[in-house]
């Protein structure tokens, strides 16, 4: 479980708040999508969970333990982190990239080798890729390695910051649904930042809408799609519905003609 308790964060000594007095919690095994415009504070929220960003006020806790109480690096070894920039280490092979957190944790060579082989299968890449360098991979393959690297030390929390945002739509869709299956199978708690409402609706168990550092909506996708008092949230959630509607009409017309 992840909990935020009255958390605020400002990057300019209090003139503007990236996150303002936010309180919410995420139960274990939930897939939460954080949506909002760029600059809304959703990435700041995410990075406060693994202390890549420190809150000014309030407390963040993971499994009932305050994250402030532990060293940032050991916290991050327990939490998987995937982001749009991927950030594979260019001077290390795919296997070395996947095995990095276990190496930092001091696992034995055999354990690490077994785990990397297991993970490369899990993200559906051929094992021959283990010896390749990141520069030899396509964008989609790289992010598969990025996901494998994040999962290497068997975390039960995954933080994902627009993980598939830079990929082409087909790859993005494939990776998204494959990841959702991994989430189920491994019983993960996932927090994913995205600005793509469609992605949030299709992957998330719960959607949190953030605007100007505050949470303006929080609920199951179906719930937010049907009705919400805030006009901004309505407009946001309208988009996937309108798109789906248009696609449906197009298909009907085609069926009628054919």
């Amino acid at each position: 479980m992840i909990a935020f308790e009255g958390v605020s964060k400002s990057f300019d000594e209090g003139r503007d708040f990236a996150v303002r007095d936010v309180t919410f919690s995420i139960p274990a095994r939930t897939f939460v999508a954080l949506v909002g415009d760029s600059g809304s504070g959703k990435t700041t929220l995410l990075k406060m969970i693994n202390r890549l960003i420190e809150p000014d006020q309030g407390a963040v806790s993971v499994d009932g333990e305050s994250v402030q109480g532990m060293a940032g690096y050991s916290l991050r070894r327990r939490i998987g982190y995937v982001f749009q920039g991927i950030g594979l280490f260019p001077h290390m092979s795919v296997a070395e990239n996947i095995g990095i957190t276990p190496v930092l944790l001091g696992w034995s060579r055999e354990q690490i080798d077994a785990r990397t082989a297991e993970l490369i299968d899990l993200v559906e890449l051929p094992r021959t890729y283990l010896t390749r360098m990141p520069s030899e991979l396509s964008g989609g393959q790289r992010q598969r390695v990025g996901v494998a690297r994040a999962l290497a030390a068997r975390p039960h929390i995954m933080l994902m910051d627009e993980p598939f945002g830079a990929l082409d739509p087909v790859t993005r869709d494939t990776l998204g649904s494959e990841y959702r299956r991994l989430h189920e199978r491994m019983g993960l708690t996932t927090v994913m930042v995205t600005h793509d409402v469609m992605e949030a609706v299709l992957l998330g168990d719960r959607i949190i809408v953030v605007r100007q550092g505050e949470i303006v909506a929080d609920g199951e996708p179906q719930q937010l799609l049907t009705e919400h008092p805030d006009p901004g949230v309505r407009a946001l959630m309208d988009m996937p519905r309108r798109q789906a509607e248009r696609v449906r009409i197009l298909m009907q017309e085609r069926a009628a003609r054919g």
């Binding site: 890549l52 070894r77 594979l88 001077h91």
Partner: protein, 517 residues
Amino acid sequence: MGERFAAAARLLPDYLGQHVLLSAAALALGFLISLPLVVVASRNARVRWPVLGFASIVQTVPSLALLALFYPLLLAVSTVWEHLFGHGFSALGFLPSLLALTLYSMLPILRNGVTGLTNLDPAVIEAARGVGMTNRQRLLRIELPLAAPVLMAGVRTAAVWVIGGATLSTPVGQTSLGNYIFSGLQVEDWVSVLFGCLAAVALALVADQLLGLIEAGIATRRPRLAWLGLSALLGGVGAAVAGSLAVAGQPAYVVGAKNFAEQYILAAVMTDRIRKQGSPATARVDLGSVIAFRALASNGIDAYIDYSGTVWTTVMNRRDSMPRQQMLQVMTTQLRKDHGVVVLGALGFENAYALAMRRERAESLGIHTISDLAMHAPELRIGGDFEFFARSEWRDLRDKYGLRFREQRQFQPTFLYKAVATNEVDVISAASSDGRIRAYDLVVLEDPKQVIPPYDAIVLLSPARAADPLLRRALGPLVGAIPIDVMREANYMVDRDTNRVAPGEAARWLESKIQRQ
């Protein structure tokens, strides 16, 4: 030509070995100091600009001046050291050269290192934090390996600069490939100059290629290539240093010499004589005028020839003049008392500063004395060597005769004589024992007011060798044994345009003249 080439080649193991040792030590030290600075500067912008700014300022100081500045600095430190711990260290030679070149090597390493570390892909840095690396792990596993190729490119640049700059360590008493260049320039042995240049260039190219191998090995992640480059580099340094040591051995006596032909010849005479007494000896040539005396007083060298007038004015800071014998006596007691330096005696000739003109020019203007010269001076141009116009003799001459020239220029001694011969200047500062006075048909102007003090060549011994019997046996017979005409002829053998001989050969000829007396 072939002979001079062979003579230069014989000196190569020693010069090259010392050059390599100095350059390698400076580069290694520069690298070791720069690396932590690079790390700190890349993480902290407030440290970054002072560090890079300081390194850039060091770079703008001409390298020769940087080397020269370390000498007085180290001398002061050595004096303090001596007070504190009872023994000083030599402020000449290896130490000032090493420090100056180390400073010189740092800018490219710092600049490239900081550029390499601050321009890494931010996504990679974020990932390094995200997977749970500590700051130290991030530096060692990610940042330094990724910045290494850029850093190595800086090391290559530094290596080329240091190898070039090391040639300038000769004037502060460190043997290097610069010995070919400085000595060659003095006696117009262009084969020697060229030999020195080519050797330095070849050394720089080889070092650059081997460092390039390491750089390529790191950049393309082929550790074996990097190790190959590194071992070849270390092997080369080891071989060069071993070669130098094998040639040099451990010289028991070091004879100093300033930077002109007469000094080279006399140093060769002295080392030959010490060897004949059964002890190894080497010459340390191309020392600056004041540096030579300081080196002697601090036992950096054991003996050298200086001139009474020079010591009188520059070491003892005396402005008055007195008769030759009396001056020599005062000097002998004073140097012994103040510095522990022994004046063994005068060689028998004088090498005084004098003003010289082309004979036909002097005659057409009717100039015989410096008083005559004063009347024509406003239309004439004077040339001097690098120290002449800074010396008290020149100030005295100028003030006592009222000399006001149209133009005043400085030349390297070799070019000074050429300049008067080709009418580029009308009057030059000349040395009275210089063979080129005859060669270029110059006349030395008389000094009726006796402004210029006597310049007897004198043998000086260091405090540590004050009572050394071998040195006294070897050098004692030189006192009073070299008349001016013999010295001039020996000088001319080295300075003349055709059939020029090496200083060592002129020394053997001079020795035969001394024997015959």
